[in-house]
Symmetry: C2
Subunit: 281 residues, 2 copies
């Protein structure tokens, strides 16, 4: 897989480096979750877990002629931590247009026995087999060019070696309120995302991208943790930075949705996601 990525993209991203999967004789995979994708407290980012699990499941489904994930839905059961993990995969149906599979990500618990940390259900198609025939009712964000934007985490004192904020370059048209310790009250954001260290986005990498940013409820003075994330993967992204639009519309009972849409550098919508998150403050 790494060879293929090198041929197509020139440079593989840190995300591809850090989502290796070794097939096991029982049909599952051995994974090694990297400590570079943390969110603090020793916990790993949900989108990183999802991307790490979706990648081997995609290789399984590709063997059934359905190489492209079109929807993936992850339930986060327990915190994932850096280190070994196991992924069990199952193919449920190969239909005429779509095929469905699932995967369960497990890590050793305190007693050493494996415990599920994430459950993934996904459907796969073959985007190359159908014409795009696009219809868009919402335009891409109208952002200044990335080089005219600000680096969201420039000068941060965070330990970037172990955090997602060190894996991603966020380019923002203006510093958001929460970053200036002055939440705006408006939980929306538009910005550019690219991978620190280079490498172009892949379809599967979008499963990480939609969970890579500080939740926009920060503009309401809140922090939150992902409970469930569903992503629709619509198109292989062109090389270059990704334009992102994020919005939360409703909080209630300590829960909120976050919608995160991603367009590639040519203005094509590549992914739409929605997550349910739990306020943690």
């Amino acid at each position: 897989m790494i060879v293929r990525a090198c041929l197509t993209a020139g440079v593989i991203s840190q995300l591809e480096e850090d989502t290796p999967a070794v097939p096991r004789p029982d049909g599952g995979f051995d994974l090694t979750l990297s400590g570079r994708w943390g969110i603090g407290g020793g916990r790993l980012n949900g989108g990183y877990q999802l991307a790490a699990a979706l990648r081997p499941l995609t290789t399984v489904m590709a063997e059934h002629g359905r190489p492209d994930p079109v929807v993936a839905s992850a339930s986060f059961l327990r915190p994932a931590v850096p280190g070994p993990a196991q992924l069990a995969t199952t193919v449920h149906r190969v239909g005429r247009r779509l095929a469905s599979g699932s995967a369960q990500l497990s890590q050793p618990g305190p007693d050493g026995d494996p415990r599920e940390v994430m459950r993934l259900e996904a459907s796969f198609g073959d985007l190359a087999a159908t014409a795009p025939d696009r219809w868009d009712g919402e335009p891409a964000p109208q952002l200044p060019a990335p080089e005219e934007c600000l680096d969201l985490f420039a000068g941060t004192s965070l330990p970037v070696d172990s955090l997602v904020v060190g894996r991603v370059v966020f380019r923002v048209p203006a510093m958001p309120g929460w970053r200036r310790r002055d939440p705006s009250g408006d939980p929306t954001a538009e910005f550019w995302v690219s991978f620190a260290g280079g490498g172009d986005p892949t379809l599967g990498s979008l499963a990480f991208v939609v969970d890579c940013a500080t939740p926009v409820v920060a503009e309401l003075g809140h922090h939150s943790s992902t409970a469930q994330l569903t992503i629709h993967l619509r198109e292989h992204p062109a090389p270059g930075p990704l334009a992102c639009r994020v919005r939360t519309r409703h909080l209630a009972h300590g829960l909120h949705e976050e919608d995160f849409d991603v367009w590639d550098s040519t203005g094509v919508l590549c992914a739409q996601s929605r997550q349910l998150a739990v306020l943690v403050d």
Copy 2:
């Protein structure tokens, strides 16, 4: 369950009548899918399947002190048909705030052996244990009162005894383009929903409501079929009609999302859903 519904709502809805579940000794449930919830061609509506499966899973999770589904994600693998079905349920984790479970709905295939028709992953909480503390960034639809609206399917020649359109009363401020055979080109809609035959909405019934309407891609001249549906259940609905807002923003490769938000008669957001659907024309 029927007794409780009578006590709280006075009249049970046809949806409650038609989603019985009989516990089996193995921990699963025997279901009988009713032919009243069809979408044509002998196939049953996806939201009906989801509501029928979510209801017994909810009883299982309630035993763990998490009586309210807050997110449910369904993958539709094969057409469901009227008749017997079996539901297997599993509890995956009971956490501090949320608990997670899954269910698989199966029906006999051509050879009589059971085949999965739908897979469901859901998380559950206890809405009564937390204050609503609502923040809303998008208002409810501003619709005329239901009695001032038009009955979307008045005078229809469709066989309503076997179709979802006979189970729901849709009240629209104006006849949508697709209903006048003149698609508007704008795949959005706002309308009231109530259950034909009476009965007030329940939290679980919203899993049906978000899939009960003609897909708004009808305004682009398309028909589509649900592949995956994720619903966030935010609040128990007050009695009375439900105000709905539906929107599709992007079609590509014969796939599209549909977002369907539901407010109760007091203007409180009760559910947000998104589905991935496949164009069938």
